[in-house]
């Protein structure tokens, strides 16, 4: 390891030290239970907006979105769009009323709105479930980043992030992390944008990179020089796949005796089509000639809209293998320029129902964002409902500033580092792209900046999750269910103990998910949130007819059915389950929001109407507390 390689590590250490330092600094002001749970309800609009944005921009946003856009092109633009504009719904329907209700945690709202202690338990369950699904990818991101940068074992990065944040949260609670998260937003905004300006100056403009795909839609990225790349084995499936281009012959070399699991076609064969068998390597075992083949049915070429349907071989290795590509060869696992830059490409068209898939994805992201409990709880830290609305507006500005840069990384990656497609490493584009610079010193400084940004992402998101989950355990489970008579002091102690317990569990869960996909796990959290908390808050704030039975049924069924669908879909992808599903059913399972959210809302409305006599007697008063401006003087802190 030479001196330059240490630069990124120094950046990461500096970020970690700043996090601990700021945490200790902020902790001095954090004393009462109100400080720990809702930062004394005294966080100003600017600080809260920075802190919410800092907490929200997670590993998935920092590394995942850029990678997804590089991989799928236009289709993946819906991710940053949905992540950002979800806050508009939060602003229009939820932020103000939620703050005015004056609770400490989201389960407080659930119980207070329906006078139902049982419903609090349901709500706590969802806080923990969404929280842990969201925590696992943060931990995994931390483990992988330290692995890539330092060669540390996978568990080391997780242990560092887990320990630092658990320390901060246990010491200072919500007040202790607000300043840290706000600082981390600015660190992330700086880390995603500054390298982009330098890279654009070196590699050329953003619009041009997008436009060159549009100008040459039939082409695809090629290797500019001979490259030898490492491919994963079967244990990393489906990341071990090597699907060749259908545009021309690709010749690759790999060591003879390489352990190939199977060779199939890149395009899934459909019923009635003639089987295709590849034996490109038969004559010379260490040379493979991948040639595109026209798909036939009963000997006749299959046509779609007049064009021949062409496929190419797909190799899946059983064990890790090094493969050498010639200069000028098409990069495998990449679509044509046209499919990348135009809507309805590889992401949304994969099951043949691109419009359905696109709308369902948009609904999941928008409604999911508006239903994430660890974000919602931060709105309680504002002094009043008006400040909560202003905060949301500023969150949208800050998130827009961040997300507008993520597609630039994707477009630059496709144009200037297409080899990331070949071995399924597009997720690492924010680190790999600066690494590829000619000027190694500049490159390593930029890697340092993006790595520190990534670390800020794991830490700030995890700290928010930890506060939200510890709050749920200490306030809702201990303070409300187990020991309602607990004193302020006891609740505060419970918060600290809960933080340590959840911190340890999170580290443990992080160790289990090394081979999972980051965006997949976050997708689960969004799908559950969209079909559980979003309908609860929307109807709870605006429809007085909602009863606890309706709300609970909608949350439980909507949330769990969405989760079941998405998990089944994943098990089918990884071939743990092997039953046949139609493409439309597969689309609906993979992106359940388009039926999950309406189902949840319909259940809430239907069952509430059937149990009308259980509408709380003082519902008018509750609605007044939710909506009346503070100056009228109807609010009371739900919890003293």
């Amino acid at each position: 390891m030479n001196l330059f390689d240490l630069i990124p590590v120094l950046f990461v250490i500096a970020m970690t030290a700043a996090t601990i330092g700021l945490g200790i600094q902020a902790t001095r002001a954090s004393k009462t239970a109100s400080d720990f749970f809702v930062a004394g309800r005294s966080v100003s609009v600017f600080w809260n907006a920075s802190a919410i944005s800092g907490e929200y921009l997670s590993a998935a946003s920092f590394m995942g979105v850029a990678g997804l856009i590089m991989k799928h092109g236009y289709d993946a633009l819906w991710y940053p769009v949905g992540y950002a504009v979800g806050y508009l719904f939060l602003l229009l329907f939820i932020a103000g009323p939620l703050r005015r209700f004056g609770a400490y945690t989201i389960p407080d709202f659930a119980e207070g709105r329906f006078d139902s202690p049982t419903f609090r338990k349901v709500a706590v369950l969802f806080v923990l479930c969404i929280g842990f699904f969201y925590t696992m990818p943060q931990m995994r991101g931390a483990g992988l980043t330290m692995q890539t940068l330092l060669g540390w074992p996978y568990w080391a990065g997780i242990a560092v992030v887990g320990a630092v944040i658990t320390f901060n949260v246990a010491l200072g609670g919500m007040k202790g992390i607000t300043l840290v998260q706000a600082f981390q937003y600015w660190a992330k905004a700086f880390a995603i944008s500054l390298p982009v300006f330098i890279l654009l100056a070196i590699f050329g403009g953003y619009g041009g990179k997008v436009g060159q795909n549009a100008a040459d839609p039939g082409e695809a990225p090629k290797f500019t020089q001979e490259r030898t790349l490492k491919f994963a084995g079967k244990d990393k499936a489906p990341a071990n796949a090597l699907a060749f281009s259908t545009l021309g012959e690709t010749v690759v070399r790999f060591p003879s005796g390489a352990n190939i699991d199977k060779i199939t076609t890149a395009r899934k064969p459909q019923l009635g089509e003639d089987p295709i068998v590849f034996d490109g390597g038969a004559a010379n075992p260490d040379l493979f000639r991948a040639q595109p083949v026209v798909v036939t049915r009963n000997g006749q070429p299959v046509r779609v809209y007049g064009d021949y349907v062409v496929t190419a071989p797909k190799i899946e290795f059983a064990a890790p293998t090094e493969v050498t590509f010639e200069a000028g060869a098409y990069v495998p696992n990449s679509q044509t320029n046209g499919k990348w830059v135009q809507p309805y490409g590889t992401l949304t068209s994969k099951h043949g129902y691109p419009i359905l898939y696109t709308y369902s994805l948009i609904i999941a992201l928008v409604c999911g964002t508006a239903g994430l409990p660890h974000i919602l709880v931060r709105f309680y830290t504002n002094p009043d409902g008006r400040a909560a609305k202003r905060t949301t507006l500023w969150v949208m500005v800050l998130l827009g500033v961040f997300y507008v840069f993520t597609p630039v990384w994707g477009a630059l990656g496709r144009a200037d580092l297409p080899m990331l497609y070949a071995n399924n490493k597009t997720d690492a584009v924010v680190i790999a792209l600066p690494q590829a610079l000619q000027n190694k010193l500049l490159g390593q400084i930029l890697v340092g900046i993006t790595s520190a940004g990534a670390f800020a992402a794991f830490m700030s998101t995890f700290s928010g999750l930890l506060v939200s989950m510890s709050g749920a355990l200490a306030h809702d489970v201990y303070g409300k269910i187990l020991k309602p008579t607990a004193s302020q002091k006891e609740r505060l102690a419970a918060f600290k103990i809960a933080a340590v317990i959840i911190g340890v569990i999170s580290i443990g869960l992080g160790l289990l998910v090394e081979t999972f996909d980051i965006t997949l796990l976050v997708g689960w959290a969004f799908a559950i949130a969209a079909a559980s908390y979003f309908p609860l808050l929307l109807l709870g704030a605006w429809w007085r007819g909602l009863t606890k039975y309706g709300a609970a049924a909608g949350m439980l069924l909507g949330g769990t059915l969405s989760l079941a669908a998405i998990v089944t879909s994943m098990l089918l992808d990884t071939k743990v389950l092997t039953f046949a599903v139609s493409p439309i059913a597969k689309s609906l399972m993979e992106q359940p929001a388009i039926w999950g959210v309406p189902l949840s809302i319909a259940l809430m409305v239907g069952i509430s109407l059937a149990t009308r006599r259980h509408v709380p007697g003082d519902v008018t008063l509750k609605m007044l507390r939710l909506h009346a401006p503070e100056e009228i003087g109807l609010q009371k802190d739900y919890v003293d």
Partner: protein, 127 residues
């Protein structure tokens, strides 16, 4: 002429906020709720309608008019990339800013009206 009936009797106006609302009759609560909710709800629905039209209209435009959406736009982008990749952020920010400004204005008026209902002050309640 006051639009709303008198609220809590004089001298009964509580010092502690949390008890204020409980002293209203059911009918007074309903009136107050209607006043504070209806205009806010109308504003939220109006802004969300514009927003949904834009957000859900974009995929539809991509499907129905791919030629125009994928045509070259200023800066070298395609039109649809320019919209979904860049312009979406300032557009939603403008919508939010409009909402927050209008909502603040409504609330300021509601405070005057609401106090009127609570204290039977005819002048500020009659609007």
């Amino acid at each position: 002429m006051a639009e709303f009936p008198d609220a809590a009797p004089a001298g009964h106006a509580p010092d502690h906020h949390e008890t204020l609302a409980e002293h209203l009759t059911h009918e007074q609560q309903e009136r107050l709720l209607h006043t504070v909710m209806s205009r806010q709800a109308a504003l939220s629905l109006r802004v969300s309608a514009v927003f949904l039209l834009l957000l859900l209209g974009l995929p539809l435009a991509n499907w129905l008019a791919p030629g125009a959406m994928n045509a070259l736009a200023p800066g070298g982008f395609t039109w649809t990339w320019l919209l979904a990749g860049i312009l979406v952020y300032p557009i939603t920010t403008l919508l939010s800013a409009y909402f927050v400004r209008t909502s603040d204005r409504i609330e300021a008026e509601l405070v005057a009206q609401g106090r009127g209902i609570l204290h039977g002050d005819g002048e500020s309640a009659a609007r």
